[in-house]
């Protein structure tokens, strides 16, 4: 066995022995991490589902292009060619002035019970355009709408941009909120884990001093505590994600049908795989930083003697 493997195996054995000696504090710390990661995870799940809802709604948005009454047939053909040549467009339907007026009158009669007769048709002809599914649907539609809006013969373009942009702004607020909560929870976790590691250090103070007296390097002393912090982070995040996974599976079984009725084809989302790995990584990093702070402070005090 070479010296690096030997050092690593000794460090691991010391870490396990540290954890055994302070089982209760280790478990309390793991549970605190699990709860904090759980809070962050719940926010992430809500965020992912809102995001999925936004994407799903964006996919069902249709763009209505209203035409000037005096649009020439050549301009109309030009517009149609533009729609047909766009690969992102799924379907396009022309609604003539007459059809629009007829449908409007029919709706009016069904709703209010009287027939409207103005003596002229105030409604414009239009094109109703549907887009193929894509993840950046809303930005695609808004880009395309701007291109169409400036075309000659186009009176106006509508696609519900106001509520889409409001929802997108809300998602930005959600992101900022998530970052804020994540930052605060991380700070809290660093304090908690660093205190747990400090307790672990003090409970083994005699052993540490003896190690240093008989020629241990500072890293030989520090590494087991750093590993302990990293393990706390790992265990805490795994417990939390396991628990959330179980709750998600249960909720999905119960609420999936009602979700589908709210948003057709929408699947209840869990935290995506890259974010799961990021959460575990962040949790381990927090454990490492916290234990580094404690061991650094302790060694610093010893060196000042």
């Amino acid at each position: 066995m070479n010296s690096v493997t030997q050092a690593l195996s000794t460090s691991l054995r010391t870490t396990v022995s540290n954890i055994r000696a302070n089982k209760q504090t280790f478990l309390i710390s793991v549970m605190t991490i699990a709860i904090s990661i759980g809070i962050l995870g719940v926010f992430l799940i809500v965020f992912f589902n809102l995001n999925a809802l936004l994407t799903s709604w964006s996919q069902h948005v249709q763009l209505v292009v209203y035409l000037d009454d005096d649009i020439s047939p050549s301009l109309k053909n030009e517009l149609e060619d533009m729609f047909k040549s766009n690969a992102k467009i799924q379907s396009m339907e022309e609604v003539s002035k007459e059809r629009a007026w007829k449908e409007f009158k029919l709706n009016q009669r069904n709703n209010d019970g009287f027939e409207m007769d103005l003596g002229f048709n105030p409604l414009p002809a239009s094109y109703e355009i549907r887009f193929k599914s894509s993840n950046n649907g809303s930005s695609l539609i808004s880009e395309f709408a701007e291109q169409v809006r400036i075309k000659q013969g186009v009176e106006s373009v509508e696609y519900g941009e106001k509520w889409i942009s409001r929802f997108e702004q809300f998602m930005v607020v959600c992101r900022v909120f998530l970052l804020g909560v994540g930052g605060l929870l991380s700070l809290g976790l660093i304090l908690i884990i660093s205190n747990t590691i400090r307790l672990s250090i003090y409970s083994r103070q005699d052993e540490i001093e003896l190690m240093l007296l008989i020629g241990a390097t500072p890293s030989f002393v520090k590494i087991p505590f750093l590993l302990e912090g990293i393990l706390q982070g790992l265990a805490g995040s795994l417990v939390s994600l396991g628990f959330m996974g179980a709750i998600y599976t249960y909720l999905k079984d119960v609420f999936q049908p009602s979700m589908e009725s709210i948003a057709r084809g929408l699947d209840l989302q869990f935290i995506s795989q890259p974010f799961l790995l990021i959460l575990v990584g962040i949790s381990m990093l927090i454990g490492f930083i916290a234990s580094y702070i404690s061991t650094y402070q302790y060694m610093h005090v010893l060196n000042k003697k």
């Binding site: 010296s3 000794t10 052993e207 007296l213 008989i214 020629g215 241990a216 500072p218 060694m299």
Partner: protein
């Protein structure tokens, strides 16, 4: 091998713990450090193994300038010496064998070698039958022999002993002294701090007398 030049050490207000101490100890020497409580015996030892800083002077141990040693490199100094304390400083939750092996584990020695050297060290202090016992199950003399085995297991060239017989009766103290003499005969330099007149009486070794932080006779 070990030299102190005009070393001054203060613990705060009052008289210095070491006041302009200069000493020279040759390789392979057996030296007693003696004097009343508070004379500075333990302080000298702590400075030698880099546990305490000092304000003035210079300390050289095997060519290492102790005062200029970075904290991250202090282990190189400590690995050149074995340290024995009056209160043994054994780990109560480790067996005799594990306590002795521990001194080698921190230096990342190969596991097979650790077993062999530990066994040998325990044989030298006559404690192989007690290898699986825990320190609280041993007598004071036995615990001190474990501490000696731990100090010598890495065969360091210097052994520092701080009142190693302070908690032991006279008969056991003489036995412990004999162990140190054996280690010295194998080539190690021994600095043995004691205030026991019984230990000093045979007069076989050099005695450095300290009083109130000063060297009275050397």
């Amino acid at each position: 091998m070990i030299q102190l030049f005009n070393v001054i050490k203060n613990y705060g207000s009052g008289k210095p713990a070491l006041d302009d101490v200069s000493l020279k100890i040759e390789k392979g020497e057996f030296v007693f450090l003696t004097g009343p409580s508070g004379a500075g015996k333990t302080t000298i030892l702590k400075i030698l193994f880099g546990w305490e800083h000092f304000e003035e002077g210079q300390v050289l141990v095997q060519g290492i300038n102790v005062g200029k040693l970075e904290p991250k490199n202090i282990h190189t100094l400590r690995r050149s010496m074995g340290v024995i304390f009056q209160d043994y400083k054994l780990l109560p939750n480790k067996t005799v064998f594990e306590n002795v092996a521990f001194a080698q584990e921190v230096t990342n020695r190969d596991r097979k070698k650790i077993k062999f050297k530990t066994w040998e060290a325990l044989k030298n202090v006559g404690l192989t039958p007690k290898k699986d016992s825990f320190p609280p199950q041993l007598s004071g003399g036995e615990q001190q022999r474990v501490a000696i085995a731990r100090a010598m297991v890495n065969t360091p060239p210097i052994i520092l002993a701080d009142e190693p017989t302070g908690n032991l009766d006279q008969e056991i103290s003489i036995e412990i002294l004999k162990l140190f003499e054996e280690i010295n005969q194998n080539g190690a330099t021994i600095i043995f701090a004691t205030h026991s007149q019984e230990i000093l009486r045979p007069g076989k070794h050099r005695v450095i007398v300290l009083n109130r932080g000063k060297v009275v006779s050397s």
